[in-house]
Amino acid sequence: MSVQPMDLKLHVWRQAHGKAEGRFVTYDARGISPEMSFLEMLDVVNEGLIERGEEPIAFDHDCREGICGTCGMVINGVPHGPRRATTVCQLHMRSFRHGDEISIEPWRATAFPVVKDLVVDRSAFDAIIAAGGFISAPTGSAPDGNAIPVPKENAELAMDAAACIGCGACVAACPNASAMLFVSAKAAHLNLLPQGQPEKESRALNMVEAMDAAGFGTCTNHRECEATCPKEISIAFIARLNRDYLKAVFTSGRRKAKSGDSAG
């Protein structure tokens, strides 16, 4: 393991606010330990900027342990950077070499407008959940937990889908800026469980409608989302949502997607 400090050149997207014009600004990052996380490297750069009287780079982050889904930036063209199944807060500088040039950009998607620098607005995801990404179970109305047996395989598959952290990397990776991986994972988690059956059809229809309304693109099977997802959510969930959606369209006579025969 190399513990030699590294010097790097960063090309960082700076944008004062949503309506301002953005541009890349180059910064030197010197004496970076390979043991640092990527965000700790940015902290060090920011400390240096502040000491020189320059405004630090704004980026979203919170838990810094790969679970809250707050952080996200495109590093050398790849959302969350080069390491598979890793959020940027869990990416460590040992993935880079002395002398590397690194470009750092925000998620790019119409539905995720830039707020400042690397910070984007992902509230479109919340709107999709509000439209149908839930089971209506008012507090107090629940039967005993073991009254609803769930086959282990279903529980495990639902858990695979539920592992989505809502970071939006799938959208950033997709050439169409489609949110199908996110939406399908959220829908599948609930549609796979017996508790989710009563609202299965309306869930599929309403979530897809909200997704389209938010301005996300269509899925054309590039599979970039799956490759970049820090929780390795499978695109098999997209097929599942397409099936649930189509079935709902036929049985409900309601069709809410703007175009195309499938949900995405």
């Binding site: 700790e40 400390e47 838990c63 810094r64 919340d126 005993d144 073991n146 529980a155 508790q195």
Partner: protein, 637 residues
């Protein structure tokens, strides 16, 4: 200030039922006439917001994150306790109550803890109904595991992501109410001041973190669900944004602060590896079910673990606490790790670490079983340390993880400010001086789903509705205070970054008010903190525009409050001349180094009342009575 706990009389198992009957109700048709503010959208805040909206109240919910789903409850790994007794191993409401009171080292209010154990079973039912994908047995029933400080398997879990899954359940319920228009959600909003009109909480002042706008919001009651203050240590397992500003501002306006010195230092975190480090990462306590904790017997032994023979290893938890072994409670395990490191037997480059070894478990169960149980935790460890825990033992060390202290609340979860309720980690109520594993999720959801939605109705029904608008002079006054503070921070224009001060404060707190405390150290901290604070207000630098997204400004306000709160923690730790749970005063210990309580003098809650800038806060006392669990020295041997 009078501390009225409002605990109902009668036998403990009847108190909550009786209270539910005695509480006044708000007519279903009248609920829509009330507005309630909830600050925070973690397990407590999201569950309370959703449930109150379902009941018919109008709810305004605020969070500093970009989405309510990101609150730090999401990071809880291990599980949630409930007295379901699904494993038929002798669990009961009384046993969960007993374990929690004992685990808290007899410094929690019995009636609150009993109620927590009672509603624990409803929580699991509620979460299952929402679709939380708990682990299951092959027959389809819910699976359980055991956790520290208990000898029954009562912990429900969802891989290593229990917090995330429970939060998603509450968040989805919240989003449903947002969709129905019953909750208005304000993300990227930070509360800067509570607003009191005629002594009652009637609203808040916030800063819109995107536009910088300082705004007022009026309501009939306010609920703080803003989490704990463990980031006072700088390095902690908390999310970077977690802060004490909401509860600290409430304290300054008259809410008593309960037991500020009770902090939890969690035994199993990845050790510190450099000065630039921004946070510490927890490795779930559930790992102690299968991992064995050890250090070399010899001080200064720098051999790699594989070359240290069995006979030269000290499995110190198993040796010292044979009946609980590696599952000894957190405070005890953390202190034991500190002791062996102080003896020079720590491991890793910094020598501040102990091994958590899975070799035996892998031999016994096979790597596949271990992978299924802990796979994501092992991956996370490898990502951070570049070491493979299937092959070499993990290195762990204690880190700030939770705060048992918080705003003082009565049995109704109301603070000493009428109308201001405090739920989840932000209050002081249920964990005493040490929290057991898998109890935080339980408490957050108990408060939010099943307690505050009832008690808030009682408050509203027993208080004349004298709703004021946000144009009331008290709102204008609070807005002016909030603006003045922002202006003051921007105006310092010093040379040093906010983080550099925070790091310095963290060092002082860790050294003097961390895992072990003593009079001399606490007195030194009480000199150092005010000096650092003075320097802060002279030399901190906050660049950029306050009228827009400004992350330095956000941090600056929070660190200013931590600088005040750190001092109160040290004061509380100094005054509490005993050891209990996570509060270990070196002067007060048993011959074998265990915490030595002084029940004659300190069997009480210390609740501090703010007395104005520069004045010593006043210490009030709520005596604790143990009528159902006999006061005894804890033993896990």
């Amino acid at each position: 200030m009078e501390l009225r706990s409002s605990v109902p009389d009668g036998p403990i198992e009847r108190k909550w039922d009786k209270h539910r009957f005695d509480m006044k109700l708000v007519n279903p048709a009248n609920k829509r006439k009330y507005t309630i503010i909830v600050v925070g959208s973690g397990l407590a805040g999201a569950s309370a917001s959703a449930t109150m909206a379902e009941l018919g109240y109008n709810v305004l919910c605020f969070c500093y994150q970009d989405s309510p789903r990101r609150a730090h409850s999401i990071a809880a790994q291990g599980g949630i306790n409930a007295a379901k007794n699904y494993q038929n191993d002798g669990d009961s409401v009384f046993r969960l109550f007993y374990d929690t009171v004992k685990g808290g080292d007899f410094r929690a209010r019995e009636a609150n803890v009993y109620r927590l154990a009672q509603v624990s079973t409803n929580i699991i039912d509620q979460c299952v109904a929402q679709g939380v994908p708990f682990a299951r047995e092959y027959g389809g029933s819910l699976a359980n595991r055991s956790f520290g400080g208990a000898q029954v398997s009562r912990t429900f879990y969802a891989r290593g992501q229990t917090g995330q899954q429970l939060l998603l359940g509450a968040y989805q319920a919240l989003e449903r109410q947002i969709g129905l228009g019953k909750v208005k959600m304000y993300t990227r909003h930070e509360m800067l001041e509570p607003v009191l009109v005629e002594g009652r909480a009637q609203g808040i002042v916030t800063r819109d973190m995107v536009t910088g706008a300082i705004e007022s919001w009026a309501a009939d009651a306010v609920i703080l669900a803003t989490g704990g203050y463990g980031n006072v240590f700088y390095l902690a397992t908390y999310a970077k944004g977690c802060n004490a500003t909401a509860i600290w501002r409430a304290y300054k306006k008259g809410a008593a602060f309960g037991n500020p010195c009770y902090t939890q230092i969690h035994p199993t975190c990845i050790p510190v590896h450099g000065d630039y480090q921004s946070k510490l990462t927890l490795m779930s306590e559930s790992l102690r079910n299968d991992g064995r904790v050890w250090v070399p017997k010899l001080a200064g032994d720098t051999r790699p673990p594989s070359q240290i023979p069995e006979a030269e290893r000290d499995y110190y938890l198993e040796r010292k606490y044979p009946s609980f072994g590696n599952l000894a409670p957190r405070d005890i395990s953390s202190r034991a790790a500190k002791q062996v490191c102080d003896e020079g037997r720590g491991v890793g480059d910094s020598r501040l670490g102990v091994y958590l070894d899975f070799a035996d478990a892998i031999k016994r169960l096979g790597e596949g079983v271990i992978r299924e149980k802990y796979g994501n935790l092992f991956e996370m460890y490898e990502r951070i340390t570049d070491e493979n825990p299937y092959q070499v033992p993990m290195r762990i060390y204690p880190a700030s993880h939770y705060t048992m202290g918080g705003l003082w609340v009565d049995y109704n979860l109301m603070s000493t400010i009428p109308g201001l309720h405090v739920i989840g980690e932000a209050n002081f109520s249920d964990h005493g001086a040490n929290r057991l594993g898998a109890s935080a999720l339980m408490q957050g959801l108990a408060d939010g789903y099943f307690i505050v939605p009832y008690t808030i109705g009682h408050y509203l029904a027993s208080t004349p509705q004298t709703r004021v608008g946000s144009d009331h002079p008290e709102f204008k006054k609070s807005e002016a205070e909030a603006r003045a503070r922002v202006d003051r921070l921007m105006a310092v224009k010093g040379k040093h970054t906010v983080d550099s001060f925070h790091r310095e404060l963290g060092k002082i707190m860790w050294e003097h008010c961390g895992m072990a405390r003593n009079r001399k150290g606490l007195e030194a901290a009480l000199q150092k903190i005010p000096a650092l604070r003075e320097q802060y207000w002279k030399d901190v630098t906050v660049l950029g525009d306050p009228a827009g997204l400004n992350q330095s400004l956000e941090k600056a306000g929070r660190v200013a409050d931590f600088l005040d709160l750190g001092e109160l923690m040290c004061l509380d730790a100094l005054e509490r001349e005993e050891s209990c749970g996570g509060h270990f005063r070196e002067e007060y210990q048993t011959p074998d180094g265990e915490a030595l309580r002084d029940d004659d003098k300190f069997c009480h809650v210390a609740a501090w009342e703010y007395q104005g800038e520069g004045s010593r806060p006043k210490r009030h006392v709520e005596p604790l009575r143990f009528e159902n669990v006999h006061l005894a020295q804890r033993s896990y041997k």
